[in-house]
């Protein structure tokens, strides 16, 4: 959205194509490190971004998702899932990341039927029930912290010991309804109409165990939404788009910004700054043509 604002202010004739407005911050409950706000919810901050964006002349295509991006001469053509095509001299990819999946049997089948990737959204639906949080980082710890207050029992299953902030680890470990299965992996998810259990395995002993539960919160990190440019530009081992300090990829006219890139540290404030940089660089690129 920041790139769109900067592009609009430079009168680049930009079109914003996005399946939704807000991206990852929409899944974030509490934000205490975006300057100008001591505390703000992700939804509220993104509403403010959207409101600000609407102050500028910008063609917005919200709903369709860009599914392919190819070269046409020295420019580009973007195609959406609805079959609409857009041609441009320069493109900025700021598609962010999506939750990483477990890739175990039952996960796809029970997505939204007990398996969730947004504990801040769906957590309260599982009040009074048995749930598992998968993962050991900060996102998992925050999900545990929320769920121990309302669930009957919370199992945490992680292939590693806790890797998140010690302050969060200490906070959740005092909960009497938390059972830890550290250095365990998830083998499968079972259910009927909805989830009713998972099978896990101890990575040290190989011992398998079945847990009866109704909710599974997958919090094992994020994958970049870079499929659009796979084969067109260079991605790193994590699948992130490789950019230089000017947000340029190795394809002239193709820029990228934010969490989808190899820029270290994934933060809202950093992504916003990167979006601004990318739009200013795109402007310079277009001036040189």
């Amino acid at each position: 959205m920041t790139a769109a604002v900067y592009a609009a202010r430079k009168r680049l004739g930009a079109v914003l194509i996005s399946k939704d407005i807000g991206g990852q911050p929409m899944w974030t409950g509490r934000i205490e490190n975006y300057m100008g706000y001591q505390y703000i919810e992700g939804f509220e901050l993104m509403s403010k971004f959207e409101e600000q964006m609407k102050q500028f002349p910008l063609e917005q295509k919200i709903g369709p998702q860009a599914v392919s991006l190819g070269r046409i001469g020295s420019g580009f053509e973007v195609e959406t899932d609805g079959g609409e095509k857009y041609q441009a001299k320069a493109v900025i990819v700021a598609s962010g990341k999506r939750p990483r999946t477990l890739n175990v049997p039952g996960e796809e089948q029970f997505k939204g039927k007990g398996v969730t990737y947004c504990s801040v959204c769906d957590g309260p639906v599982f009040a009074g029930q048995k749930v598992a949080v998968i993962g050991g980082g900060n996102a998992a710890l925050e999900a545990i912290d929320d769920m121990v207050k309302i669930a009957e029992r919370v199992y945490v299953v992680s292939v590693t010991p806790f890797t998140g902030d010690q302050v969060l680890v200490e906070r959740v470990q005092v909960a009497k309804n938390l059972t830890e299965f550290m250095e365990h992996e998830v083998l499968s998810i079972s259910g009927d109409r909805l989830v009713n259990g998972i099978e896990i395995r101890d990575l040290k002993t190989g011992e398998k165990k079945k847990l009866d539960l109704s909710g599974i919160f997958v919090e094992i990190g994020l994958n970049p939404n870079s499929d659009l440019v796979k084969g067109l530009t260079t991605l790193n081992e994590q699948g992130e788009i490789v950019v230089n300090c000017r947000n340029e990829t190795d394809v002239p006219g193709l820029f990228a910004a934010g969490d989808v890139t190899n820029v270290p540290e994934k933060q809202i404030v950093i992504s916003a700054g990167e979006g601004a940089k990318a739009a200013l660089q795109a402007h310079k690129y277009l001036q040189r043509l």
Binding site: D20, G22, M26, W27, T28, G29, E41, G42, F43, M46, S47, I62, G63, G112, K113, G114, T116, C118, V120, C121, D122, G123, P124, V125, F126, A127, R193, L194, G215
Partner: protein, 80 residues
């Protein structure tokens, strides 16, 4: 056009639930909001009718929409 019955099943912490309700308000759609974090009857009703546990779940004259999907909501509500 007859008014459609719109039910929104939501939780207070869910950003997309807020977004859906904000969008419905902006389009002057009358709806009933059920807080499934507190209302266990509504929670069970949502799961029974939609066979899933994600919020927001929107039921428009019996038709189920999960999540904030603007094109689908527009189509079901007859908004151009």
């Amino acid at each position: 056009m007859a008014t459609k019955e719109v039910k929104v099943y939501s939780t207070p912490t869910c950003p997309w639930c807020k977004k859906v309700k904000q969008w419905l308000d902006a389009n002057k759609i009358v709806y009933t909001d059920f807080n499934v974090a507190q209302d266990k009857v509504a929670r069970d009703e949502m799961i029974k009718k939609s066979s899933q546990t994600a919020v927001p779940t929107i039921i428009i004259d019996g038709e189920i929409v999960v999540g904030f999907n603007e094109p689908v909501l527009k189509e079901k509500l007859g908004i151009k």
